[in-house]
Symmetry: C2
Subunit: 306 residues, 2 copies
Amino acid sequence: MDYCAVREDYVGRLEKRLTSLVKDKDYPPFIYDSMAYSLLSKGKRLRPILLLAACEAAIAGAPEDGMPPGLMESFKLACATDFACAIEMIHTYSLIHDDLPILDNDDLRRGRPTNHKVYGEAMALLAGDALLNMAYEVMVEACTKYRYQSCVNAMTEVARAAGINGMIGGQVMDVYTQGKEIDEETLHYIHTNKTAALIIASVAAGAIIGGADEADLRKFKRAALNMGLAFQIMDDILDVTGKEEDLGKPIGSDAKNAKNTYVSLFGLERAKSDYFHLWDKCIAQFEDLQAHLLVSFAQELRDRVS
Amino acid sequence: MDYCAVREDYVGRLEKRLTSLVKDKDYPPFIYDSMAYSLLSKGKRLRPILLLAACEAAIAGAPEDGMPPGLMESFKLACATDFACAIEMIHTYSLIHDDLPILDNDDLRRGRPTNHKVYGEAMALLAGDALLNMAYEVMVEACTKYRYQSCVNAMTEVARAAGINGMIGGQVMDVYTQGKEIDEETLHYIHTNKTAALIIASVAAGAIIGGADEADLRKFKRAALNMGLAFQIMDDILDVTGKEEDLGKPIGSDAKNAKNTYVSLFGLERAKSDYFHLWDKCIAQFEDLQAHLLVSFAQELRDRVS
């Protein structure tokens, strides 16, 4: 299969499982609708694709473990699919809460009204809480279903990355520094935690489930850090130069919220040059791991902004 | 040790561990203060006490497993203490989010201003998210630290109880039915999920970590359901007959928010009689399990409202 077919297969696998988790459940009323509205809207599915691709790369590079190859692979991929759902739930909850009037107060997301615009703020708050919790329900169930120590290790990566020393820490600093002048180190902290942490955890969880050893796991994480930082710079650039109809959300939202961005701190030229430099490093690192799908995916993402 | 000394020991053990998890951390700024403000405020610590007491009862009733008794017991109690912290984090996050203006809009909790009154709504929202996530960080770390399949089983109970088919489901229905007339079945759903689910999970997690078998686990859960329902009826009664200075929160909050309560549906007399009936069943069930601490604790709670 070529890269596009594989990516489509991953997204299909993910959305089928996500749908089974939140769709056509009618009690309690509204909350499943609110969760499904955001979770099943057409996003890029960046993190799940990364997780599944890292899992396959690690399977290909992993030492034999005695199981017949086909069985081992499908077992690990089924487990990785559950984790991909969990990661997408965590990402989605963070968007729903971020968009609330008490945080960014955004009205548009993925080309549609934000969750609270449709379901009200109370339901959006609870839908976010429910998605975060459901992510862990799905992961802990996978730990029991697959009885596989790697599941616990993968969940450890995800839980740390989603928390106060990861994504939430970055969000806190993002809120706290609004309208304040900050230094490069603080911006790096925000980007590393708010955006890169969950991207690193996606790649790490996939690699762990796939069976990567410690040395390879460190390489996967380094490549994912560069990708995560590049990805956030892309977001900052597109918030200035993009078009609302392409992005599905308003342009200039960062300036409206007086946010510090890579562009506001370093200017557009430096942002673009650092952006390509980070992708170069990321792609070389994935090439070194012979993670061909991740290389293709990184190249596709990189070219989005050029 | 007598009952009061044991309870004090549990609370001391819990608060020491909670303090080490959230106190004296200075980055990112404010968020740890906001988390600690609610987490370390003087609550009843109902759920952690239940968890630890259920663990000890299960240890006493569990078959020998080959480890020296003292070692086995301290190993299980250390693990149970981590789970008790996680449960208290989940309970606390739910209170912080509940108190927000977009939900109940309460200004007072445990005799102090609510979290968002002190730290602002944005930080309160994120502190709640961080506490929910940290609960899972602590539990998954315990799974690795104690390498004990029971940890995964206990986490499964907690995750389900905290989610859409448990506490959040109850909160959703609580919000959804405000100002509407509801039937007994719906009120039962709300109470079972909003309040009892996490109480059942506390007892179940403790019993599982302590080594209870399937049959005993079912008995522990049945007793905890009766306790959870009684506990919610007590809350409903006290919201009418209590004093603000005793409760540390405003009286009449349910009526203000047009909430359906046991008292609004059945009247004060029936509420009180059902209340004592539920405690009788609960206490008899804990007696049957020879769970002496849980019996004493249940008796103490019961007498709070009489």
